[in-house]
């Protein structure tokens, strides 16, 4: 059970992800619509884990990830990605992302990844 910050620019994706996470017994402590918002919310809420969309307005997921990791080098961030974004995900992992989930989301996969990342 973790306290999770969900970052995505679409309400749909956030809702989808929130429901999956909620069904896994996790607590959604906050949501953010863009990278800047995500960094601010991270600082404010200090969640156990962040799910981070990559493509977002204002500041993208990778830059937000970097921002969060400067605040908290141990931050646990999972990237939300889609097939075809391999290069971006690799970049994210090199920047400190702890895991990734691939759209379209499958609940068991998402929960497994969250559990694994929270466990390390």
């Amino acid at each position: 059970m973790g306290r999770i910050l969900v970052v995505d620019d679409t309400l749909f994706m956030r809702t989808l992800l929130k429901n999956i996470l909620f069904s896994g017994g996790h607590m959604i402590v906050g949501e953010a619509e863009n990278g800047d918002d995500a960094i601010a919310k991270y600082q404010e809420l200090n969640p156990d884990l962040v799910t981070m969309d990559i493509v977002m307005p204002k500041k993208n997921g990778i830059d937000a990830l970097k921002g969060i990791r400067t605040i908290d080098p141990n931050a646990k961030v999972i990237m939300c990605t889609a097939v075809g974004q391999e290069q971006m995900v690799k970049l994210a992992v090199k920047s400190g992302a702890r895991g990734y989930i691939v759209k379209p989301f499958q609940a068991p996969k998402v929960l497994e990844e969250v559990k694994n990342v929270l466990g390390t």
């Binding site: 990605t81 097939v83 391999e86 995900v89 690799k90 992992v93 090199k94 992302a97 702890r98 895991g99 990734y100 691939v102 996969k109 497994e112 990844e113 694994n116 990342v117 929270l118 466990g119 390390t120």
Partner: protein
């Protein structure tokens, strides 16, 4: 490793407590077994810290171990100043463990200073001591993990991904990056670029140098879509062929320790307790409905439910109980520190530490006890010279004891010190305007003890940094009363003082007597009820503005509780209450019975309501106030 953090903290704390306790014993005299125990405990913390990657903590334990080794070999003696240093080390370890528990690392604190202070002791001891190792049978057996971690060995890690893994190269990168967090990656096969570009089948190989141990490496490399991780010692040249078959599978000694204890957040227990309480209330309601409508089957079924609920209730109470040793064990250190500070000699005796109390009561007990114990050493027990002059042994005695007394737990703090100087209390009372010159002479010892509990009252002439800062016995008393307990003091001048705390073993469920006062229901904790009698009108007398009643040659104040339950309280049943040594009577119409109820505290919206400690809801759903007997005296 994160998942082991809790376990690490719990176990290391136990070991650290062992060290601290044993150090105090050791100071009293050499004991081979004790030294061995300390050595083992320090060694275990060291090994665990290294496995968790807390290298500063490991270094501290290592230095402590060096010192203990010298003590064990008889090259060094644990005198007061060395014990002080070692105790400071245990304090530091505790602080680090607190930080670790809170999710931080071991970066904080003054570990380096302590390490260099310890090294001074080691360096100043004849050098052959450090070299000379005890016979092998004396060396504590190293656990497998510790042995490997001590050498910072190289490992070969074979990671196999699940066949259906999407973006397998990214999975591989995550595994590599997790491994790199706890060790130094020497080589990979295929090379890193190829792995990152997915140019590998499903298995890749990592050679890594790490002090974290095989288990930690396995955990680090595992994750989503990782099918298998095989960790073995590094045997030399990298495998070029099919790694799977070539790698010798290392027999992993899974230590099958049965899990006998689990850690549960106290808040979860509180929530469970609340649910059980609701269940108790609703069971009562159902029962009354069944009786009202005379549904026999329902009544029978409810009896079964009732039994289960009672068992559940008992079990919950039991789960919440912890032995008093939990807090008692901290006090030898307090006594030692205070007596050393005051140049006093004190023999501290603890008895009955196995007596159990509810966690919530225990939490509130630590501070008051600490205060009373400090007080006893600081103010109670005299300096050795004074004691000798008074014909006592130079060493003072302080006894902390606990025992079950019917439904209560009795805790006593007794010292054989100077006792309360009643004349001094008298003069201070006049000085502080609490009493006049004339009145003060008439005050009994009990009255004077009452004065001691006045806010800010202290007979100490000098304010020491141990006690006497005006945070006095009043704070102790209110803390104890908030736990629904009471405190009594008896003292003989020149002989000593005894503080007696009477505490309920739990706060949530209380056995009460249900009475009606002026037609309204009221619950009185049964612990406070001494007896019930019929009121004889001619036994009621008036003393000043107060009513008193004469009951078998005993005069006690009589309360009609008009302000709480309305006027015209003409009941003829007397309920005699007791708090400490004092008794009083209250007038009631009728006693309805005795039952176990759940006392719910008043909500903050209502605020403090004198005379009422909470409310309870018996089976019929009526809200009934629970009388706070402490405020009646």
């Amino acid at each position: 490793m994160e998942e082991y953090r809790g376990l690490f903290v719990v176990e290391s704390r136990e070991n650290n407590d062992t060290i601290a306790r044993a150090l105090l014993t050791l100071e009293g005299g050499e004991d081979r077994e004790i030294v061995d125990e300390i050595f083992r405990a320090a060694h275990t913390i060291k090994g665990a810290s290294a496995s968790m990657g807390f290298m500063r903590l490991e270094r501290l334990c290592h230095s402590m171990e060096d010192v203990f080794d010298l003590i064990r070999n008889g090259h060094l003696r644990a005198n007061a100043s060395l014990t002080n240093l070692l105790l400071a080390c245990t304090d530091q370890i505790e602080a680090v463990l607190d930080a670790v528990e809170a999710g931080r690392g071991d970066e904080e604190g003054t570990i380096e200073e302590l390490v260099s202070a310890l090294e001074v002791w080691v360096d100043e001891t004849p050098s052959e001591a450090a070299v000379e190792m005890p016979a092998s049978e004396d060396v504590p057996t190293l656990e497998d993990d510790a042995l490997i971690s001590a050498e910072g060995s190289r490992y070969q890690v074979l990671v196999t991904l699940a066949p259906a893994s999407s973006m397998k190269e990214v999975r591989a990168m995550i595994a590599l990056s997790n491994l790199a967090d706890i060790g130094r990656i020497i080589a990979t096969h295929p090379c890193r670029d190829e792995i990152e570009n997915g140019k590998f089948d499903r298995t890749f190989e990592v050679v890594i140098e790490s002090e974290a141990g095989a288990d930690a490496l396995r955990t680090a490399a595992s994750g989503t879509d990782i099918q298998e991780v095989v960790v073995g010692p590094w045997t030399g040249a990298p495998e070029t062929g099919k790694a799977d078959s070539a790698v010798p599978k290392v027999e992993h000694h899974e230590k099958s320790r049965e899990v006998k204890n689990i850690r549960v957040d106290i808040h979860l227990l509180d929530q469970m307790m609340n649910l059980v309480e609701d269940l108790v209330i609703n069971r009562g309601r159902l029962k009354q409905i069944a009786q009202k409508h005379q549904i026999k089957e329902l009544d029978e079924a409810l009896n079964m439910v009732g039994r289960s609920v009672s068992d559940l209730q008992n079990l919950m109470m039991h789960i919440r109980m912890i032995p008093l040793n939990h807090i008692f064990n901290r006090f030898p250190r307090v006594v030692r520190d205070v007596s050393q500070h005051d140049n006093k000699e004190v023999e501290f005796i603890i008895e009955g530490g196995e007596t159990e109390l509810d966690r919530s009561v225990m939490d509130g007990l630590n501070e008051p006890l600490l205060h009373l114990i400090r007080n006893a050493v600081d103010h109670g027990i005299e300096l050795p010279a004074e004691r000798k002059a008074a014909g006592k042994s130079e060493k003072g005695m302080l006894r902390l004891s606990a025992q079950r007394d019917r439904d209560n737990v009795l805790i006593r703090i007794e010292d054989d010190g100077a006792g309360i100087d009643y004349d001094k209390v008298r003069s201070k009372a006049v000085l502080r305007g609490l009493s006049t010159e004339e009145d003060v002479k008439a005050l009994s010892e009990d009255d004077l003890i009452d004065i001691l509990f006045n806010p800010g009252f202290s007979t100490a002439d000098a304010i020491t940094d141990i006690s006497g800062r005006g945070v006095g016995l009043d704070v102790v008393r209110s803390a104890i009363e908030s736990l629904k307990g009471s405190i009594n003091v008896s003292s003989t001048q020149g002989k000593g003082t005894c503080f007696e705390l009477v505490l309920p073993p739990t706060m949530a469920i209380v056995e009460v007597m249900m009475v009606r006062i002026n037609g309204k229901r009221c619950a009185i904790p049964i612990n406070n009820v001494v007896e019930v009698a019929m009121i004889k009108r001619d036994a009621i007398h008036r003393v000043g503005n107060n009513q008193v009643i004469l009951l078998r040659d005993e005069v006690m104040p009589l309360f009609t509780l008009d302000d709480m339950f309305g006027d015209f309280n003409r009941g003829d049943v007397l309920v005699v209450l007791q708090n400490g040594h004092k008794k009083c009577g209250i007038v009631s119409d009728v006693v309805e019975g005795q039952q176990e109820v759940v006392v719910k505290p008043l909500s903050s919206l209502i605020g403090i309501c004198p005379g009422v400690s909470g409310v309870t809801i018996p089976g019929d759903g009526e809200v009934v106030p629970v009388l706070d007997v402490n405020t009646m005296f």
